[in-house]
């Protein structure tokens, strides 16, 4: 079983739609959850960063974490063609221990296409 599972899509929606992107994870030790957006042939861009359970909102984006279900979501309201990209969820269990690392474990990414 993979540590992080993400539906690869592709997901195609009309402009203005609400988009829901999801990941599940297997290890309850994971506490830090991130969403990255990656345009074709570019590096991932950090969108949202949350710790533990709950919701976090930033403009049209809302990140939601349900640790009891080991389920994380990213909602995009009023989607725009410029939102067309691959969305990657990333998780980590230990942001800093013993002066060491914050390794990220990524899902495979969901390809989103917003049609004008």
């Amino acid at each position: 079983q993979k540590e992080v599972e993400q539906d690869p899509g592709p997901l195609s929606v009309p402009e203005g739609a609400i988009v829901s992107l999801n990941c599940t994870y297997s290890n309850s030790a994971f506490q830090y959850f991130m969403w990255y957006r990656q345009y074709s042939r570019k590096g991932p861009e950090l969108l949202m960063y949350t710790y533990s359970s709950g919701n976090k909102e930033d403009g049209r984006f809302t990140a939601q974490v349900d640790k009891s279900s080991k389920y994380i979501s990213l909602f995009i309201r009023d989607s725009q063609p410029s939102d067309s990209a691959t969305y990657l969820c990333a998780i980590s269990s230990d942001m800093n221990y013993g002066g060491a690392t914050n390794k990220l474990i990524f899902g495979t990414g969901t390809l989103l296409a917003v049609q004008p």
């Binding site: 950090l46 960063y49 990220l104 899902g107 990414g109």
Partner: protein, 114 residues
Amino acid sequence: DAGVTQSPTHLIKTRGQQVTLRCSPKSGHDTVSWYQQALGQGPQFIFQYYEEEERQRGNFPDRFSGHQFPNYSSELNVNALLLGDSALYLCASSDLNGRTYEQYFGPGTRLTVT
């Protein structure tokens, strides 16, 4: 404020050759992580450098090695290249000493092994 930079942008090598990729972290960041992203996959963690030492390593063979310099920049070296090493190599930086754990990625180096 300069973000994470990587060089070169693209690289084509032959099987068996060696390659060196370079990364400069975001200003103020002290930690550099390297990831490999195969086509259609999420990035896979290779290793991380902090205070010029390798702090953690993913499931990659010893052919993959790295270095961090006193100015926090980093290099990734891959020896005896295989076709399967063709991928986008991403560098990410963070500020471990400042307890800012978000990782910011560079644009990547696309390596093609023929």
